[in-house]
């Protein structure tokens, strides 16, 4: 059987890769991809904790949470990409360093 720590290490790695992409990438879509990695990492955690819970058959909270996260992520990506494309139409760039008209 796979130890819990393996799942959690994989999740931590994915979360931190996502964190790096979200903070360090220039392109808005690349940042969004990093955020998706972070959400997937959280889902791995949820499933792993569900599996190692006291009664995984009866207590399915972790799975339910993971399914809701997946559903929300789909809606969020759809709206987010629409916003990103409307920025692209107005500015012809998605480079976050150049998108800086909002400055004090």
């Amino acid at each position: 059987m796979v130890p819990l720590t393996w799942y959690l290490t994989l999740a931590a790695f994915m979360f931190c890769s996502g964190l790096y992409a979200a903070l360090g990438r220039r392109n808005a879509i690349a940042v969004l991809m990093g955020i998706e990695l972070m959400l997937n990492a959280a889902n791995i955690n949820l499933i792993a904790f569900w599996r190692y819970g006291v009664t995984p058959v009866e207590n399915v909270d972790g799975q339910v949470f993971a399914i809701f996260v997946i559903a929300v992520a789909a809606a969020e990506v759809a709206v987010g990409l629409a916003l990103i494309i409307s920025v692209y139409r107005n500015r012809k760039t998605l480079n976050l360093d150049e998108l800086d008209i909002l400055k004090g």
Binding site: M14, S17, R26, I29, I47, P56, V60, A75
Partner: protein, 177 residues
């Protein structure tokens, strides 16, 4: 045969080998997302990661979530992101760096978070080896019952959320002069 100074760890079981292979796939995908210069390669890496994560769910015997992952993440989200990349094609990288000015700081933050999290895992007193789930159908049945009883509030809220997304799509997309 002389005694080795370090005991040889037991060979991984089939289960563990499968997990390792899937995890490797996932890690490679995540690495592609983060490191590849071309946005298309990022998106391919992302799809690979999504597949890997679905595999992880199957190994953990959460088949329903695994299927949902394939349908939603691989089927819908990867496709959407690919479309967005194609619609904004001018943005694929040429000579400029894909990283912004604070990428160094970002790397340090990410590495620190990983070290802290991995360090916590080391101190984890979690001896429970999970029992294989005998009847997976009961889990799925419990999920279904959960959605319409215990989690019905969450289910209703999700409906509101999708309504928001739909109304938002109209606001963002439709022109009415």
């Amino acid at each position: 045969m002389p005694e080795l100074p370090i005991p040889i760890p037991p060979l991984p079981t089939l289960h563990e080998s499968v997990f390792m292979a899937i995890a490797l796939l996932t890690v490679v995908g995540a690495f592609l997302v983060v490191a590849a210069r071309n946005l298309f390669h990022n998106a391919l890496g992302l799809a690979l990661t999504f597949f890997g994560v679905a595999g992880v769910y199957f190994v953990a015997e959460a088949e329903f979530v695994g299927v949902a992952q394939v349908l939603v993440y691989v089927g819908a989200i990867s496709t959407l992101i690919t479309f967005a990349i194609m619609l904004t094609r001018g943005m694929m990288y040429g000579a400029t760096s894909p990283l912004n000015r604070q990428a160094g700081t970002a790397a340090i933050i990410a590495a620190t978070v990983f070290v802290v999290m991995a360090g916590l895992l080391g101190s984890l007193p979690w001896p429970v080896a999970e029992e294989p789930i005998v009847d997976g159908q009961i889990v799925i049945a419990n999920l279904g019952v959960g959605f319409v009883t215990e989690f019905v509030v969450a289910f209703l809220l999700l409906a509101v959320l999708l309504l928001v997304a739909l109304a938002g799509a109209i606001v963002l997309a439709q022109d009415r002069k």
